[in-house]
């Protein structure tokens, strides 16, 4: 059992760099929490403060209600898995997993029990006698995880553990980690810069930027209801398109590059209530909400734009069409049966029910 609470956590380095600002989060027992954000956003620093590898400048860290700020890392009952897993080259898989426990003078039979149990969970039983050189990248990563599992910790902290693996193996290991979380029933905190990893693994995701938490929510909510322009742009691949536009006096339409796009009543209401009538805003629209099929163009005639395709990309199950509109590069994700090709001038219908509106100055969401 491990509930974790971070209360007003700050990290300020001696050179004045404020890496993490007023971080607040309650993590429930057995939750799988993801910290995600671009490089330098403070996600690893926060994880390292939980681990005790970085001092907390101010604020409180509690594990199961106990204040941990001054507790030694080794006494926090945590285990860590990192991107760079150094295995002892002259030791077998068994010894690699057992070594940390041996150093801590754990009885031999207990070590044996723990190592074999971890090997069973990770499907490493047949590899216990092998040396690291004889293992594949994925198997090595599993041994590194095994070293964490044998500690039987309350909390697993993982910092970009899959970043060194190739794309195929990363997808495979992602599933393994998800299964591992289910079978161990431990609390897990996982740091990644990869939003796909975040979306597929986490029960909740913490999106960070410049040391500040932007939004804490479920993957679905982050995607559908981003709280600001940054989250909207960061979550989703290809990323959301952003177009500058001006609302009309009753917020029923937005003018973008000469085209008038009709806004659905619910969003109109939100925009009016927030006082944006006749104001400039940023319109956000995801690539999959831009359609080139004739049916859409016909039925959504009030939200059609016309553009010349600059690049056509066939990915198999879908096609990306890139075009410039209002000085911005826009991406549309369309059906692979599309007849549109590079150089064609095409009509696109925007699904305005799915549109997002952001304040031009603060970049905060006005309507989702």
């Amino acid at each position: 059992m491990a509930d974790i609470q971070l209360k007003n956590i700050n990290k300020k380095y001696p050179n004045g760099f404020h890496a993490v600002k007023d971080f607040n989060l309650d993590i429930k027992d057995q939750e799988f929490i993801i910290f995600v954000g671009p490089s330098g956003c403070g996600k690893s620093t926060t994880l390292r403060m939980i681990a005790g590898l970085e001092e907390i400048s101010s604020g409180e860290l509690l594990i199961d209600g106990k204040l941990m700020n001054d507790v030694e890392p080794k006494d926090r009952d945590i285990a860590m898995v990192f991107q760079n897993y150094a295995l002892y080259p002259h030791m077998t898989v068994y010894d690699n997993m057992a070594f940390g426990l041996k150093l801590r003078k754990v009885p031999k039979d207990e070590i044996d029990k723990k190592v074999r149990e971890a090997a069973r969970i990770l499907d490493l039983e047949k590899l216990l006698d092998r040396k690291p050189k004889a293992l594949s990248g994925g198997q090595r990563q599993r041994v590194a995880m095994g070293r964490a599992i044998v500690r039987n910790p309350k909390v697993f902290l993982m910092d970009e553990p899959l970043s060194n693996l190739d794309a195929k193996l990363r997808v495979q290991m992602r599933t393994e980690i998800s299964k591992l979380h289910d079978s161990l029933g431990a609390t897990m905190i996982y740091v990644t810069h990869d939003q796909t990893e975040a979306m597929t693994l986490g029960t909740r995701i913490v999106v960070m930027k410049d040391g500040v938490v932007q939004q804490i929510d479920t993957p679905a909510n982050l995607y559908q209801k981003p709280c600001n322009l940054f989250v909207a742009g960061f979550i989703g691949s290809p990323q959301m398109n952003f177009l500058d536009g001006t609302l009309n006096a009753d917020c029923t339409a937005i003018q973008v590059n000469g085209a008038s796009l009709q806004i659905p009543p619910a969003k109109t209401k939100a925009l009016m209530e927030a006082g944006y009538a006749s104001k400039q805003v940023i319109l956000g629209i995801r690539p999959e909400d831009i359609h080139d099929s004739q049916i859409f163009v016909d039925t959504q005639a009030s939200s059609v734009i016309e553009a010349t395709i600059s690049v056509y990309e066939l990915l198999g199950a879908e096609v990306y069409l890139y075009f410039d509109y209002a000085g911005t590069q826009v991406t549309a994700r369309v059906d692979p049966r599309t007849t549109a090709r590079g150089g064609d001038t095409v009509k696109f219908a925007l699904d305005m029910e799915k549109a997002h509106f952001f304040d031009k100055d603060t970049e905060v969401t006005i309507a989702n």
């Binding site: 050179n15 004045g16 671009p38 590898l53 890392p73 080259p89 322009l229 970049e363």
Partner: protein, 298 residues
Amino acid sequence: MNYDEKKEKLLEQLSKATGINFQISDSELSDEETINKLKEMVVRFNVLDSKSSFYRAFLIKELSYSDAAGYIHRFHINEDMPRMLFYLESQGDYSKEVVSLLKSLLPDSQDALVQIDSKHIALIVHFETIPTEEEIIQTANEYLDMLESEAFISFKVAYDLPVHRFTDLPKAYKDTVLAMHIGNIFKGTDHIYSYSTLGLGRLLYNIPADEVETYLNNHINIDLLAGLDAETLNLLEAFFDNDLSLAETSRKMFIHRNTLIYRLDKFADLTGYDVRKFSDAITVKLSLMLYNYIRATK
């Protein structure tokens, strides 16, 4: 401690290392010379003890190459093979567990772990072929990640280029120690420093502090630099790292291009420097580095 006490202490150490009781009589040497001679003897006798103490004395130049030759032969050290020297610095004092863990990563007799003091360890690691920069960084990262996940202790690591001859190790050691020092000043939040990529830091480090302050006050005022928030500093760093490209920086920072332009304009209004211009970008980059230097040295 006066000269007599120092001599007494060194004689004690010498007796401990050799099992022989020494006395000083009718010496023509001055007190200082006697102490230096005794120190030299202590080192020489101590290095006989272990490979690790030999490496230590050799790295910190307490032992000349001619004195080292015998030990190189005795410890079967292959002199001509590519080696890397990794200089590790821990946040607090490291434990015995750290030494055990690191030794387990270096099972080859051509590798060595040298405990410099309670916070610093030098790892001398041989490679079959000259390692690439990528391999070196990967190895350094492995040491750090392993120590953090197994021993729960945070280290930093500095390294220089690979050495081809054993005799080059003392210079590599000197450079890595300097890399750690300069890295801590200019790249304090990083964990890995390479001597060869310290870049401007290596140059700026040699400028006297008063000249640095004069430069800053002639360009961007120190108080103004101190007042910059982390968001602006991050943005400027990202803009420099992405070769002053608005498109690339906004893409990497996940911000709208117009937002980036707005923030750069704001910085230009505040400081008078528009970092979209190459000459202004150089001034700001230099000023930020010098400001860090001033802060660290104060």
